[in-house]
Symmetry: C2
Subunit: 698 residues, 2 copies
Amino acid sequence: MTINIIPHPFDPLSAAEIEQAISIVKKAHGNDLFFNIVSLQEPRKAEMTAWLQAPETAPRPKRVAEVVVIAQDGKVFDGLVDLTSGTITKWDLLDGEQPIITMEELQLVEHVVRTDPKVIEQCVISGIDPKDMDKVYCDPWTIGYDKRFGSKKRYQQALMYYRPDIDDCQYQYPLDFCPIYDAEQKKIVHIDIPEVRRPLSRVPPVNYHPAGVEKKGGYRTDLKPIYITQPEGVSFKMTGRWMEWQNWKFHIGFNYREGIVFNNITFNDHGVERPIFYRLSLAEMVVPYGNPEHPHQRKHALDQGEYGAGYMTNSLSLGCDCKGAIHYLDADFPTRAGGVRTIKNAICIHEEDNGILFKHSDFRDDSVIVTRARKLIIQQIFTAANYEYAVAWIFHQDGTIQPEVKLTGILNTYSMDPDEDTKGWGTQVYPGVNAHNHQHLFCLRIDANVDGPKNTVFVNDAVPSDAPVGSPENPYGNAFYCKRTKLVTPAQAKTDYDGSTSRSWEIANTNKLHPYSKKPVSYKLVSREVPGLLPKPGSLVWKRAPFARHAVWVTKYRDDQLYPAGRHVPQTSGEKPVGIDAWLSEPGVADENIDNEDIVLWHTFGLTHFPAPEDFPVMPAEPITLLLRPRNFFENNPVMDVPFSYCRVPSQVRDGVPGWDKYRLVDRISKLAFDEGKEDGEKKEKEVNGCKGGCCGK
Amino acid sequence: MTINIIPHPFDPLSAAEIEQAISIVKKAHGNDLFFNIVSLQEPRKAEMTAWLQAPETAPRPKRVAEVVVIAQDGKVFDGLVDLTSGTITKWDLLDGEQPIITMEELQLVEHVVRTDPKVIEQCVISGIDPKDMDKVYCDPWTIGYDKRFGSKKRYQQALMYYRPDIDDCQYQYPLDFCPIYDAEQKKIVHIDIPEVRRPLSRVPPVNYHPAGVEKKGGYRTDLKPIYITQPEGVSFKMTGRWMEWQNWKFHIGFNYREGIVFNNITFNDHGVERPIFYRLSLAEMVVPYGNPEHPHQRKHALDQGEYGAGYMTNSLSLGCDCKGAIHYLDADFPTRAGGVRTIKNAICIHEEDNGILFKHSDFRDDSVIVTRARKLIIQQIFTAANYEYAVAWIFHQDGTIQPEVKLTGILNTYSMDPDEDTKGWGTQVYPGVNAHNHQHLFCLRIDANVDGPKNTVFVNDAVPSDAPVGSPENPYGNAFYCKRTKLVTPAQAKTDYDGSTSRSWEIANTNKLHPYSKKPVSYKLVSREVPGLLPKPGSLVWKRAPFARHAVWVTKYRDDQLYPAGRHVPQTSGEKPVGIDAWLSEPGVADENIDNEDIVLWHTFGLTHFPAPEDFPVMPAEPITLLLRPRNFFENNPVMDVPFSYCRVPSQVRDGVPGWDKYRLVDRISKLAFDEGKEDGEKKEKEVNGCKGGCCGK
Ligand SMILES: [Co+2]
Ligand SMILES: [Co+2]
């Protein structure tokens, strides 16, 4: 690995660049600023594309920092700093828009809550000794939007909990009231109190830490270690933040908001670097809760826009979060006061064996080929208060990209009385603990570049022939085909999932037809976890998270249209359209042409979570995944040149000779699980028989 | 591993038992018999359950062999042999029913085809030199059903191909005519010839074998090996065919038809062995092709009922098919002539690391727990002519069972002229090669036993509240809930997937409510690859593969109702109901009670495959999967006692002491991908920083 002195235009701002931007802003606007965002403004696409195509002759895109600050008086400024010239090129005062909430801002709330007399009063009503306020905890959440407080000032809601002991899990002891925190005054300005009170639960704790497990009988002792090693090194190569692996090449970025961002994803197809996606990321998410009772409607975190998947990302640990031969990348962010903090090991990168890549045996002659698959995983884990999200981007050798999100962590909980009716809006997962229904909806942003910038999206539905059974066109009734519908305007492109037709979407380059199939080269979006937004049309969530209204949207590419719930998400009311809704509300945009244009596909996927006691006190990871697959893109199977584990062709079978020895990538380390040597000769025989045609090569 | 001398009643017939059954039958009915089936008749459930509950006192279920033979005159007998008493207890002559087709029967067809003068004549018309008949190949397929030939006699259709060279792939050179083979006469009795002929393609081959890859530029050289080792041994234990792993216990069977069969799956929940499923298997599958033109409608193989996923299973190889520390089980089958053949390594069993099992960090104090997951994989791979199916049964520590099917192998192909219009029924995947649209639909049979034999199935739909936005019941419009519909009769239980409600099915025991949630203990079927049968209602496929008409069926348990397309599948016409359709047609059955009864759930899942050139000449594996998840089954998270990789509780953070050392299962073998030691001190620093709170333990 070499360290680039000059950052690549796609690189995140370095610590030095963050410091430089902050210093320029402080010089111009004083030291008393809170820095919410200091992040790369990605190069304008036209400039960047020109430079990528001719780096020797085209102008190198400038390094520009987006800077968002909150002044002492609560005023918010959104600016741009040109790091090349050292000048501020934009400095806008925002009106009624709240920038992203930083972890440092959140940390303050708990301290305020614990000393607020009105909160203490409510704690006492809940049954807490006022001397025990150090046992009171709060998760400060975005207020979402509450019309009583509006958007002009910065508020958070404090979801209240209690820990009988410092090592207990507070989510097991929720309190029933909800203070509202004014971030500017650093004060509690209101408390939402239910009419019927629920006293603090006194049920003994269930804990997932060792002392808790000891009490329940201790740890299982029957797990033997599994080790994964690559003694000859890994198969990927990194140059700065450029990854090369198995014909893939792409740049790995990272920002405060989306976390991992991929740029300029290409695939080397027999010497030709074919573009696939210009940019790929999770651009937004929303977690709406389904309990209609006030103030639970406020629980619908847009975690990326409101807190940031980068800001909340974990520092990952070798041998714990990551197993095998791991490469890490760090992340640099501003501190609120204007320093720099580094999250070490923000991204982990490794390869995994992936079972069989392809196999075929000919039944008539026992000729066989079996080739094992490898995958490359680029991963981050972020903690959004109670939940953790492990986001893995899995690259396959065959050109498939598989984003995967694993949900773990802890349920958001609310208090309930023994035998209180949850009315179907939640589940009692532990005595006194009501976990409300919710959804986890993610928006994948695909800035398509399938064999070039001009792309077209089609909806593909698997449907039976219209011709009735017994008709001349369909005598046996078995006819079916793929019905393709071209999406020609953003208005028409708002499409939903249809499970009954196994609907998929195809990002095609209609300018390039496959030589055999005569179909356009394409990448197909195969996504089956597409629950649709359950909050109704016109609801607060529907307005604030417009991307979630449909499974797929397609827009014409425009610089800075990155975030489909808007750039500044906290406290948007949804009264004015935001994000993708706002973009499409611009005159003419909804009906503009997106056929054979530079387009962006937005895909909302996720799951609906009806909690169960198995999810408590900590959730076994639940995966959600989807595929982006090349179809009619490659001339034929693009992985035939992956070294096989075993190959014996018909002529070798006929001639009684062993399979191919040359080119094999054989694993001589695998072994039988049990030592069966005790029974005379059996071990040897087993190994021989395990190797049809001498396959295992032992 | 100990070898049981007395087979367990669930064990497949041993080689000795197969020999015994054959010998008894030969003694009674002569030597001139072809043995199509000699397989365990599984114990009657009532007897077996009684014995499992009291093996000391209840009578041990007898060993009974199902035997199906074809006599020299084509007569088919379906019998039972009591191996304990050595007597034939049933010997029925079948009328118009054809038993499963064995590989040995199939092997014969190609020899007959090559010497048949009418076939040679057609080959010459196709452009083949009659001296090259050794280059003509055929895949003998079940005829499906062709009313011209009916069901009384045994036929196969011969899908014709050509190999210019013995090592070429015949699927690239399909011929356009289709001989019909009479299995009794061992003769070609008819040839289906299209009106417009398509001469043999002379396009150069594309081959996936090393000589072919060499021609295209050779193998990639940048893949470094990955090794997976378990130096302390595996974490599972096998006693005979009983598996114990991470609280799971079950019996692993195997038969000619379904391949892997699980019996008596239980989960040890704090000392109590709780039953989950009495039996679990893939009971049938169908692969309908969507080209309506004669004779392609005959391509809709019910591979398990027509050929058998056991009979077609591969002998697996260590280090090729299977990686790590592997345990194998063999399979014994009769030969056609009445001997025994053993497929060595028919089943492979191994553990894999599965990433993060659960994780939570508290943002306020950096306390953290991270625990890695393990999975157990029990796998077979079978070859159905051109296709291979890798069927993996994945057991998770948290009680989840995940069946997974990976599709690989080669597309079924038909010839086409250059630039012939495929009319949407197929794709030209290579010049002259038309791969027709098709589906792969599998039927999972779940003999439920969720905390006892009496179970009830519910359909769960995630739906918004009926109350409009702004109403008192739903002021913010965010209300949603899980709508549960009880399935009370088999007629009502025929249900389809609904993607718009993220539909799932719940197998519940309504006699046992969870102490906290008050919901019945249950296993939830979460399946998203549920395309529905595309051949229309009333079509041949719809009649012959009734299970595929709906995503879910529920029937009351009855002995011998194992196969949802019927027991003898080849050449069923569908004129009379077969399989599950026949069972529900019995008087009163469709409307009988299935609420709180011993029930079986049948689930059809799979995918619709519109071929693309990437699938040719051999397909990169494509996975299909689903989950069976415990919900309201365990008191709480059942994996808290899995040793963690790292755990530091808040009091340890407060006291400035390291995390828990006791109980850790730490991986000290993982390492950084790149040796960064060259830059002075960096390597050391990286490792320290990679270990938040000293996590990695280095
Ligand atoms: Co959730
Ligand atoms: Co297929």
